[in-house]
């Protein structure tokens, strides 16, 4: 075998090994990170949007300020949701364009949602998120993410 042929075989084997490493080791983590920072599905204010096999719409936003830490406001966001989810479970995250706050968990600030409304997309139908924010924050959107942080849909406020 001539030198250029040996070099070509070596290059092909190296390229194949690199491809396998990228596809099996690096790509899944990178894809998860990409999906947690880039949004494909954005629903404008007052509109209904599709994502994850469902329709999404902000039904109401209420601002509560009783029995809360000093200087904070509780933003209660109710999201109307129809259709059959492909994944059970979600996390609500609110943003002002620069910072992000997670929804309160079980035992956190605010009341539990009324019957028929879930707080973690545990059942099909509407979902309610309670966000404790500093009083001077002006939120611009709510992201609904999966457990890995991938943004399923962004609902503009």
């Amino acid at each position: 075998m001539k030198l250029w042929q040996r070099n070509a075989v070596g290059a092909a084997v190296s390229a194949a090994a690199l491809t396998v490493i990228v596809a099996t080791d690096l790509w899944p983590d990178w894809a998860t990170y990409w999906d947690s920072t880039h949004v494909d599905n954005i629903v404008a204010v007052g509109e209904v949007g599709d994502a994850d096999g469902q329709t999404w719409q902000v039904e109401s936003i209420r601002h509560l300020n009783t029995d809360l830490p000093a200087g904070t406001v509780l933003n209660v966001v109710t999201v109307e949701r129809t259709g059959t989810p492909t994944e059970m479970g979600c996390i609500g995250v609110i943003t002002d364009g620069e910072r992000r706050w997670s929804a309160e968990g079980v035992g956190g600030y605010g009341d539990l949602p009324p019957a028929g409304i879930s707080s973690l997309c545990g059942t099909p139908g509407p979902v309610q998120f309670n966000f404790l924010l500093p009083g001077d924050v002006m939120p611009t959107a709510v992201d609904v993410t999966d457990a890995q942080g991938r943004i399923l849909v962004r609902l503009l406020l």
Binding site: P69, A70, G71, T72, V93, E98, R99, R100, W101, S102, G105, L132, L133, P134, G135, D136, V137
Partner: protein, 185 residues
């Protein structure tokens, strides 16, 4: 010429072998970026701001509304009061105390609600205490202990590191430990 080529190959392979056996450990490759501060100074990293506001050493602590009302230490209590908040995104609060070669986690004898911890959110300040049960011999053998605080996964992220001179710490009989207080920053 042929012998020279063989020599070069042997040298390169030997150098590669030496390098392979001297690669940094994963804990070094993914080490956090320490943001150092002294007691009373505010340290700010990528996603954490923390200030140690006080340190006390005591044989007994009296947690707020706790049963029993007093806890004796197996060694001595090192009580660190601090303020912590996230900067950009939520993150679970983590802390540990380095005493010489030993690493101490905060005591789990207090209820989680009595300890400074949980999910930190941007610009919402959590004020409270971490309580460590430290061996007196270990504490007596060092001049300085180091408190490390970070949010979530510390790999390649900021970690606040506060040096605490043991000789400057107040030694008292008993310390009241208040529940964490939350407010907007």
């Amino acid at each position: 010429m042929r012998y020279l080529k063989a020599l070069v190959i042997v040298v390169v392979i030997a150098a590669a072998a030496v390098l392979w056996h001297d690669l940094p450990a994963n804990t070094e490759i993914y080490a956090p970026f320490d943001v150092t501060a002294d007691e009373g100074e505010t340290a700010t990293g990528r996603n954490i701001t923390a200030t140690v506001t006080g340190v006390q050493i005591a044989a007994e602590i009296r947690p707020q509304n706790a049963r029993p009302p007093r806890f004796d230490a197996s060694g001595v209590w090192v009580v660190v009061t601090a303020e912590v908040t996230a900067v950009r995104e939520p993150g679970l609060l983590r802390t540990q105390l380095l005493v010489g070669p030993d690493t101490y986690a905060q005591t789990d004898r207090l209820l989680p609600s009595a300890r400074l911890g949980g999910l930190m959110q941007p610009d919402i300040v959590n004020r409270g205490a971490w309580v460590f049960d430290v061996a007196p011999e270990a504490l007596g053998a060092v001049d300085t202990v180091v408190l490390q605080v970070w949010l979530g996964d510390e790999r390649l992220d900021s970690r606040v590191q506060v040096s605490i001179p043991v000789g400057d710490v107040d030694r008292v009989d008993s310390v009241d430990v208040s529940r964490p207080v939350v407010s907007a920053g």
